[in-house]
Amino acid sequence: MAAIKALSSTGRASSKRIRFFKRVSVRRFIHSFVVYAVLIGLGIIVMMPLSWMLTAALRGRGEPVFTIPVSWFPTNSFHFENFWIILTNDAYPLWRPLMNTVLLVVLNITGVVLSNTLVAYAFARLNFPGKDAMFRLVILTMLMPGVVLFIPSFLLFHTLGWYNTYLPLFVPSFFGAPFYIFITRQYMRSFPKDLDDAALIDGATRLDIYRRIILPLSLPVIIVMTVFTFGDVWNDFTGPLIYLNDASKFTLAIALTYFRKSTFASGVSTTNLVMAAALLSTIPMLILYFSLQNKLIGGISNVGLKG
């Protein structure tokens, strides 16, 4: 009771201040209202295309996809079997391209994680003559735009007889990528040097230290590389476009464009199936990003800050 009395008396004493705070809070209220209104409005606009895509993807056979007014939300038609149809239909099944893409993703992730952690380990934790010059070379090559190698890489792989195989699409990943070497090295530099020394005294080899100590500690940066590589390979269009010739070897990105063409050529409106296929191809990326979102952001900021 005494406390309340004390409060009310101090309240009266500083009523001026309270009025000031009220004015501020009204302003703040208007401010947050405007921010919310703009962001929610824009957010709805940004989500509309995806919502339309889902609506179209769930349409049944022969149902109109392009309607007036536009059907933005899936309300009456839920043909989930469309996702099964696009994978297994007789005309252009996407099952095979999906599996091809998964294979390439797995191979590339293996290559990227293995090669870049090995190389970064040497740059981060070992001393050797020429280290600085070599690392400068890594940074220099990191800045090089991919366009330079567009044609000559093709000439090289064609000369090697790798045309129309998966080799050009995954072998390079086993030989290190400057950007990944850079971020992994930055991360690995942040562990105390005593770790290596203690292990060496206990008789461990460098390979043991890499495998048993450094690699497990580098999990955050490995996750970052995995997600980036997944996205790059999953969405890669130019690589498969240039190097693959057999339809049976196509990846999802390439097969999607052919799938679209083949369904249009057949004369029946199958926009619903095209949208289902497009939607299906985005789902793994969405799942990956949002399941690893926290780890990813933690990983990226750590990689950026440490070193």
Binding site: S32, V35, L39, I40, G43, V46, P49, L50, W52, F66, P69, V70, W72, L114, S115, L118, V119, A122, L126, N127, F128, P129, M134, V138, P145, V147, V148, L149, F150, I151, P152, S153, F154, L155, L156, H158, P172, F175, G176, I181, Q186, R206, L207, Y210, N235, F237, T238, A253, L256, T257, R260, V274, M275, A278, S281, L286, Q293, I300, K306, G307
Partner: protein
Amino acid sequence: MTNLVQRFIFPKLSGLQRREAISAYLFLMPWFIGFLMFLVVPIGMAVYSAFTRWVLISPPPVWIGIANFREMFTTDKYFTWSLGITLKYMAMTLIPLMIIGLSLSLLLNQKLRGMNFLRTVFYVPAVVSGVAVTILWISLLDPQMGAVNTVLRELGVQNPPRWINSPDWALPSLALMSLWGVGGGAIIYLAGLQNIPPHLYEAAEIDGANSWQKFWKITIPMLSPTIFFVLITGLIGSFQVFTPAYIMGGTSRFGAGSKYMRFYLLHVYIKGFQEGRLGYASALAWILTILSAIVVIIVYNSSERYVYYEKSGEGQG
């Protein structure tokens, strides 16, 4: 024996250092091989092939000197055209998207309830990028039936644009699609904004600065390294537009290699892989590389004037 070799290679190092160096080189082996095989060799081939007539179906390549480069400026009617398309698109998107992305990130940086969810909403288009998004937008922008034009007609626009089927609206179609993914850039600015120490704003408030002054005197200078990063990557990226132009152009009524979406890299692709003239395509690629290098170097060198790097011992690695 190995000891002898080791002592021969690094006479100045102690035994322990020598062993460390040798294991380091073994760890670096993937990079050594990759550097040689997938960088030095292709660059060598790029230099050589640019001066040859290298047709895939009838090897071997023939040395023709600078004839490829002469052809670009004389008989190739799409060389300057495709360069123009690339630059026009760059002018249309680079700076406007940077400003929109920055504005969006300022809104998303407000400390309000539910902000994480809103950030995610704007980031989704950047995550789902790729062929699927282009296919989606081809449907949305369909001149007769697409959702965009249906909405425009409802809003009273009599003759909505014919988008990818129109010479004038082909590039804006692509720009609209990249505008949709602007949240990806906003997230980068957002990371930069959150690294600005709050005490700077507190100090400015005590000195009586208003929001406008705080934005120009604190936010912009502190964010300038991020802005610079986005500018450089955006510049390099817009020299290399390919996939959306290839797919959209291919479905427009102008067909594959549509003149109105013939970006420079698409021109390189058509010359190299559709006409099979890899030597000429290689020469074209060099021009693009040199051009983008010049632009990046100019921007980079002028950056000292407007990019503010905080001088502190930590951070920068």
